[in-house]
Symmetry: C2
Subunit: 145 residues, 2 copies
Amino acid sequence: MDKIQKYNTDVLTALLTKAGIRPSVQRMAILRLLAERLGHPTADEIYGALVDLYPTLSRTTVYNTLHLFSEKQIMRELETDGVKRYDLASLPPHAHFVCRCCGAVADIPLPAGLQAPGNVDFTVDSIELYYKGLCNKCKSSNSNL
Amino acid sequence: MDKIQKYNTDVLTALLTKAGIRPSVQRMAILRLLAERLGHPTADEIYGALVDLYPTLSRTTVYNTLHLFSEKQIMRELETDGVKRYDLASLPPHAHFVCRCCGAVADIPLPAGLQAPGNVDFTVDSIELYYKGLCNKCKSSNSNL
DNA sequence: ATCCATTTTTGAAATCATTACAAAATTAGG
DNA sequence: CCTAATTTTGTAATGATTTCAAAAATGGAT
């Protein structure tokens, strides 16, 4: 959750409308959060970031919306450390580095030529590539490990 | 959880001993289950498969053992669908296909040349590659999706 | 504008996986 | 066979997510 980029409301509204999703206040707020504050937030982090602005916001709405967005390919679900994290699907495909110690998640370019295997037993609709290990911060601060 | 291959007790004992793990009855049972009935069981599936044979077995022991084994690189943790699954680390590295509908997990050969990215900001100790989609069984039975 | 049907949001309770913890059981070595 | 260290166990706690039904908001027709 670092870089910030302003998005036009119309662009975000269109993104939802095109997917057949009504752009309610809550849905727009969640979409805007993901679009502007890039990062890989959990449902609870999203709730925490928005509840001050929308005091009646419910965690259930956040979960509902995240499910809806994932289903409609607006967001992608990540499984990095036992908790689900969310990433904008309109971002170019990329891999993720996950720090085993602090849980930090970083975007990594996908290796060239990575594609779904040609297998007749199933149809692949998404590829998730995780590199797990230690980030430099944890490596230097924790002399152990 | 399908293929079955008999393992010599000595081989499994040595695997634990070499890692500095005492081969208790419970640990051996869990290791043997993973080694013989290849598959990608969850902690609960392991518990369920063993509790008949070891009626005093505790879920906590299963979790403890799985953590110990993962730490000592005897097993690898998979995150396929919100629940942790386990895979023998002594198997050759491979990717996994995950069915979004029934949760089936299948081993897939790793694409050639996949390796940790050369980034100075972190040290990678494992690579996890998931292909997610629908297996043929779900594709044909569920006409929807 | 007002009504009605539909959709969306909400909050509380339930569920599921996992962890924490302290007591009981087991084991290894002297 | 005693004692200390390790391992296992069961229960309770936690945390993330889901379920569910009621309340609120919305859109379209009148």
